[in-house]
């Protein structure tokens, strides 16, 4: 036997021994899968599959020893040992998980699966799945009530909140939220659940947006109040200030000046980022019987912190930490200074003041790429920020307000073209003063729901509604006027000149970004049966679609767009031309408002209000029943 062969046999023997030992550990500690990832040593299996984890949310176990991390691209939930900073367990959940809730007794975890319309119930000890619950469409935010008997689920696609009875494992009621609810939070006293809507009300494109925070009374299980937050979009996480001086909520947002020409970005202040300070009526945070909202910005005058997203208070309430997901930053806000600032400056001024951050932000800390949720340890000594596009957690030393380190969650270390492109999509550094990233106006690769004065210097001219980036690879040309033949043109010189006011992306970066945008998939259709069969109303609507020759412009073979421009009589007094690119109809129901101007708040209005001359199809002879059927068919696409 050669020495080489002997060595190999010894290695094999050692490997076998290790496997036996590992099996024994698994059997002993009852963990279904021992996950070997640790800082700097990603698992070989993950690397070979180039399967990024893309962690989006995290929660602490009640004893503070573990962090539960939701990974949306890996369809998994991880358990991270806080002391060893290692991933110690992993369980597969449904498709596109978004959030996790820990039961009051700490024994059960609930993970929302956005693309499966389910919640996975996980046994926290064995890290195995127990049950799966059906929810509404697109479940994202989850929280239990104080008793642990009811789970609240924000359904982003259904625009409502499901209440699941965890004893019977079924939905008991559904409450309307209106517009893409994402984040939920149980109040510290357990009496309320707060729901943050990502998108604003469907309103006039001539008015600033209005967003809404929904307050649910957990005793009555009814909507108690809808708190309007004017002038802002993209309400994200919700944190309640603890302690006797607390009681108020912080809700990060973006504040777009979409009625101003975006070309004025060089003058700054077009898209600011901050948070709403909400004092909810009936809580100790409110001095009056009516809820109040004050807005405060976290940007500096010459440097913006785009994509305010996660927020959490330290247990003593002295600091609030806020992530800026497109600036790769976490800002530490001194809450005493925040209180002072709120008293010093009138609320109507504060929303537009860019000098607040220097007063209230004590420290800016660098995170990994695309930081989202944040969790603070029960002892208040550490904060953990989940870095969505770095597959890592940033650890913050709270007493020192310094970054203490990074926890690598695993996943491949090499960046693929798509991953590079996605990172750029979420990076505001390419924009002048870091005012915004692509993702700022395209949250979840979709729409922000408002119309923008994009490229025309005249105030109010040629204002166009934001268009989705989902499933657009084969829908060129781009822009509402159809002037950009490809995404390279759309995202290259155009963005650099008109939007970012910077050098924009170089050739390689542009190729990466375009590759990523082309890869953005369409979410599942909720209006089409799983077997693809149409309902009777959809069948009737399909017949009308073809009888009315809708397919001439909305060509089924090419995503229901003829990929050219037509004048269908929708131009308004602010438009230079009446020719507009034919929008694709895939998932059309998921993206109101409609038309180039964003004036049509519903599909119905396209024909009842904005087709007076029958140029957008001859529809004036249709009965209301036929119109309803046509719309049901469109929803199925």
């Amino acid at each position: 036997m050669s020495a080489k062969l002997t060595t190999r046999l010894r290695r094999l023997g050692a490997l076998a021994g290790s496997l036996v030992l590992a099996s024994a550990i698994v059997a002993t500690f009852g963990i279904s899968r021992l996950y070997a990832a640790q800082a700097g040593t990603p698992s070989a299996a993950s690397a070979s599959q180039e399967n990024y984890l893309t962690p989006v949310e995290l929660k602490f176990s009640h004893d503070g020893t573990k962090l539960y991390v939701v990974c949306e691209d890996d369809d998994s939930l991880l358990a991270v040992d806080v002391r060893t900073r290692r991933v110690v367990a992993k369980v597969k959940v449904g498709h596109k998980p978004k959030d996790v809730a820990v039961s009051p007794d700490g024994r059960t975890l609930y993970v929302s699966n956005e693309w499966d319309d389910t919640v996975s119930e996980i046994d926290a000890a064995s890290f195995t799945q127990r049950r799966t619950f059906a929810t509404g469409w697109g479940p994202v935010g989850v929280t239990t009530d104080r008793s642990g008997k009811v789970l609240y689920v924000a359904n982003s696609m259904g625009n409502d909140v499901s209440l699941l009875d965890l004893t019977i494992g079924a939905e008991i009621k559904r409450l309307a939220s209106w517009r893409s609810p994402h984040h939920l939070s149980l109040s510290l006293d357990g009496r309320r659940v707060y729901v943050a809507n990502l998108l604003g009300h469907l309103g006039s494109p001539n008015e600033p947006p209005v967003s809404e925070l929904v307050v649910i009374d957990t005793a009555k299980q009814r909507v108690a109040e809808r708190i309007e937050i004017p002038g802002v979009l993209e309400l994200r996480h919700i944190a309640e200030a603890p302690g006797p001086k607390g009681g108020y909520l912080l809700v990060p947002f973006i504040r777009p000046k979409n009625l101003n020409p975006l070309i004025q970005v060089a003058q700054g202040w077009i898209l600011t980022h901050g948070m709403a300070v909400v004092r909810v009526a009936g809580t100790n945070g409110a001095t009056q019987t009516k809820s109040s909202v004050t807005q405060i910005l976290l940007d500096d005058v010459d440097s913006y912190y785009a994509g305010t997203n996660g927020v959490a208070f330290t247990p003593d309430g002295r600091h609030a930490l806020v992530t800026s997901s497109e600036a790769d930053t976490v800002s530490a806000v001194d809450t005493a200074k925040l209180e002072r600032r709120l008293h010093q400056v009138p609320a109507e001024e504060l929303a537009n003041r860019l000098d607040s951050a220097r007063e209230i932000v004590e420290r800016r800390l660098e995170t990994g790429a695309n930081p989202m949720g944040i969790a603070i340890s029960p002892d208040g000594r550490s904060a953990y920020v989940v870095n969505r596009l770095s597959d890592s957690l940033t650890v913050v030393d709270i007493p020192r307000l310094q970054v203490r380190g990074t926890i690598d969650l695993g996943g491949p270390k090499q960046l693929t073209q798509l991953r590079r492109g996605e990172q750029m999509f979420h990076a505001a550094r390419f924009c002048f003063q870091g005012q915004f990233a692509c993702a700022t106006c395209h949250p979840d690769n979709h729409i922000d729901g408002v119309a923008w004065n994009l490229e025309t210097p005249q105030l109010g001219r040629d204002r166009v509604a934001n268009r989705t980036l989902r499933g657009i690879a084969e829908t060129a040309p781009y822009k509402w006027n159809g002037h950009n033949p490809d995404l390279e043109t759309q995202c290259g010189p155009r963005i650099a000149k008109f939007l970012f006011h910077s050098e924009g992306f170089n050739t390689t970066q542009l190729a990466d970004l375009v590759a990523f945008i082309k890869s953005i998939p369409l979410p599942p259709s909720r209006h089409l049966a799983a077997n693809g069969e149409l309902t009777p109303a959809q069948e009737r609507g399909r017949a009308i679609f073809f009888r009315k020759n809708c397919d001439t412009c909305h060509t089924p073979a090419t995503h229901y767009t003829a990929r050219t421009s037509f004048d269908v009589g929708t131009a308004n007094q602010y438009d230079t031309s009446g020719l507009f690119d034919v929008p694709q109809l895939d998932r059309i129901v998921q993206r109101p408002p409609y038309m180039h101007s964003g004036e049509a708040k519903s599909l119905e209005e396209l024909w009842t209000t904005y087709n007076p001359e029958d140029k957008h199809g001859v529809t004036s002879d249709m009965s209301k029943e036929e119109l309803n059927d046509l719309i049901e068919f469109l929803k199925s696409l």
Partner: protein
Amino acid sequence: MKSKQMWRWFLGVVGSLALLGPACAQKPPLYTHWENFTTANGMPDEKVLSVAVDGDRVWAGTENGLVLIEKGKIQKVYKPEDGLANRVVTGIAVDPASGDVWLATFGGLSRLSGGHFHNYTNLTSGLANDITYGVAIQDEYVWVATTAGTNRFNTRTGEWSIFSEKNAPIQEPWSYGIAVAEKKVYVAIWGGGILEYDIAGGYWKPYTDPDGEMEIVLFKNQGLIHIIVSNIAWNKDTQMFWASTYFGLSGYDGRNWHNYLSMDSGLASDFINAPKSRGDEVWACTDKGLSYLNFKTNTWVTYRPNAKTGRGEIVITAPDKKVTTMETSTSLAHNYILNMDFQGDDIWVATATGLSHGIRETTRESNKEGKVHEHTTASR
């Protein structure tokens, strides 16, 4: 001494029972005290078209806005400037699950949730017509009675369905009222009778007047009294629906019809705007007062204000047609009754000149309150 007192007390009780006994046997619990909400104390309009109770809250739809009454006071008046689709609120339904208040108005359908309105109109949604009269909740579905048919709105999928003469067995699309049962939905069609929708099967069944449009009842169990049906109510206790027509009251128990006319019952008038029913109680909102029928005993009670005295009048018609009248110091706001709802033992009544809160008192108190005049009417 002690035994003498005991004896007197015993005689007193027996004597009182002997006096009250006949009245107790005849009379159901009565509403002898009325509190009225009118324009004099904060109602935005004298005409109250609809009323719905949600626990401690009372919602009233008027010709000029929606009113919320709680703790005995008007708490809030909602107008179009607050977001309400239209000032004329004809129908109200509270979703028992969500607490959202759905409102049929003359400008579309409104949903009040968390203090904010969300409106659905013919132009912005699949609503058949903006003139809506009734609204009802069936699980996640909202049913709406409109002048162009009956709408069903799926709040989860956003799907709107229209049921009209084009796809349902009716000649008239003009829907006035909707009632939801466990397995059925009933629609009152003005000029088209009643439509019954089978929830599981998804099909319709019509109930019409077998004698055409004759405004008479040929025999007791003939069927629906008339095809001009103004509203409909479901009684889950007796599993019966009750339909109000402009020519009498019709009830159906699944096998037999129970028809009532003013000429041969204690019904105040054959012109009925709405029925309501629970347990053995059947209520008819007529143009000449609010009539109550104890379906089990066939005892009738009608409440109306006395135009001359301004006091309340209670007319009790016993099964043997014996009529007893009583007067009360307070009364309904008006004898033209448009709608009503229950709040525990109390009732809330929508009238032409205000909303009336009827407080039910015990029989003994009723006898103390009322000034009783008894007489028998041969025509009854």
